[in-house]
């Protein structure tokens, strides 16, 4: 499959990347590992004038410990992160979601920044231009309808990142830098809730770092997939328990991951959250399993993950 025509620029600093982005009036994409972006470009879902390679920016690569936090550069690969002793020892939920992402070969190329910022997916969207033209363009492609839900008012594409929900359960924050300055926000605030434009990050802004508190936690991650070895989550559930309370992250259904809090960890609370997450989940027929099954599995997986943690948590 041939890529559409674009220019290639390599940025050495964040400033340079922002500068190139504005030179091209935003008709640009940042490129980290490319494992999410390149397939989208091959399908002509975007036609940028330039692709800006940010892998050469040294300050975006580092993983350091500072003041009880792990500061992770977005260009750290999933495989590097998975091998980080602090994550292995203290953050089992994140370790497991990293391990469950795609496959080893892609983990060695894919970055955590690109993983968080990956586009939402839909059976009717991740398709070739010819296929999509025959079907007619939907909201996410600039059209006026949804090709899955009749008379839908918004886009129902699914956010399928495995690691954002785990990061949410460990209270991670994201540092964003843009032409107008820098800000630090909770990972959940990165998501807009709109499948068409899933992120609150403005065009051209760069995810500069992820701040992960290093507390002792218990946790686990579980995902529903059709293919065991390599597959996006059709539902993903992340659970982290810390100081007697817990957070639950749900991914794979709808345009943004959701997070829930349990003040105490007991059977009643777990059942309540499983019921609530089941109610909130609004899957539609845009993934390879039926909506009813995926919805049901939200509650099932939440209970299953808590049981697994009780038994020691390993996969």
């Amino acid at each position: 499959m041939i890529l559409p025509k674009f220019e290639y620029k390599k940025a050495r600093t964040i400033e340079e990347a922002l500068e190139i982005y504005s030179q091209y009036n935003g008709e640009a994409f940042y490129l980290a590992g490319g494992t999410d972006l390149v397939p989208l470009l091959k399908h002509r879902l975007f036609n940028p004038k330039v692709v800006i390679d940010i892998k050469g920016i040294e300050e975006l690569k580092t993983i350091t410990k500072k003041g009880g936090n792990l500061l992770v550069g977005p260009n750290a690969t999933l495989y590097e992160l998975k091998g980080t002793p602090e994550i292995q020892e203290k953050l089992p939920c994140l370790f497991q979601s990293l391990d469950a992402t795609s496959c080893e070969t892609l983990q060695m190329r894919g970055t955590i920044g690109g993983n968080i910022m990956q586009n939402t997916r839909c059976l009717q969207y991740n398709k070739s231009l010819e296929w999509r033209t025959a079907r007619g363009f939907c909201y996410k492609m600039g059209g006026k309808t949804c090709n899955v839900v009749l008379n839908a008012k918004a886009c129902y594409s699914n956010y399928c990142g495995d690691n954002a929900p785990s990061l949410m359960t460990v209270d991670a924050k994201a540092r964003i830098v843009g032409p107008t300055g820098e800000k630090t926000i909770k990972v959940e605030k990165l998501f807009s809730g709109d499948g068409k434009e899933p992120f609150t990050v403005k065009p051209g802004e760069i995810l500069k770092g992820i701040i992960i508190p290093l507390k002792e936690t218990k946790g686990a991650y579980e995902k529903l997939t059709v293919r065991g070895s390599i597959d996006y989550p059709l539902v993903g559930v992340a659970v982290t328990i810390k100081d007697g309370s817990a957070k639950v992250g749900v991914t794979g259904i709808g345009p943004c991951p959701r997070v829930y809090e349990l003040k105490e960890v007991n059977e009643k609370e777990i059942n309540n959250i499983a019921d609530k997450a089941y109610e909130d989940a609004k899957p539609v027929l845009n993934a390879v399993l039926t909506p009813a099954y995926r919805k049901k599995m939200v509650g099932v997986l939440i209970k299953r993950v808590f049981k697994r943690i009780e038994k020691g948590g390993s996969r």
Partner: protein, 156 residues
């Protein structure tokens, strides 16, 4: 559109090229350098048949732009043999009958080579984990896993 100058070390040979900015590494290898061992199947990163080593690490070359690898070393299946002798992985694949149609084979071997580069003695579970993301429609994987086990024993 302006081309991009790159210098890459392919199978221990330094090569200077002018490539399209939107050219994938797989296209460069197959179409410019006639190294057709790496295969294009899905072209979307899902199957692993295009796997080559980038500085010793397996990558899916259909997802990589050639300008990204300027200055890097690439090893393809053509570059595995040493002193005219096949690599133990290649031999084990033949001996164990791990090849049927052969379309997945170079991707399987390069993925396995990447595994052996970082883990000299992988367990069976580690071998399965590593190569299971490469699609083989013929063999059922059993012989492939055996071949990688055999090669890692021979190389130990």
């Amino acid at each position: 559109m302006k081309t991009v100058k790159v210098t890459i070390n392919v199978n221990n040979e330094k090569i200077k090229l002018q490539v399209k900015p939107y050219e994938t590494l797989l296209e460069t290898l197959r179409e410019r350098l006639a190294l057709t061992g790496a295969k294009e199947a899905c072209s979307l990163g899902s199957c692993g048949s295009c796997t080559v080593l980038l500085n010793g690490t397996p990558v899916r070359s259909c997802l990589i732009l050639t300008p990204e690898v300027d200055g890097a070393s690439i090893t393809t299946i053509e570059g595995l043999k040493e002193d005219g002798k096949l690599h133990p992985l290649q031999e084990a694949f033949m001996e164990k009958g791990a090849v049927q149609c052969g379309f997945c084979t170079s991707g399987m071997i390069m993925t396995a080579k990447g595994l052996l580069n970082r883990n000299k003695k992988p367990s069976r579970a580690e071998i399965i984990k590593s190569i299971s993301s490469n699609i083989c429609r013929c063999t059922g994987y059993k012989k492939i896993v055996e071949a990688v086990e055999e090669a890692s024993k021979k190389m130990a």
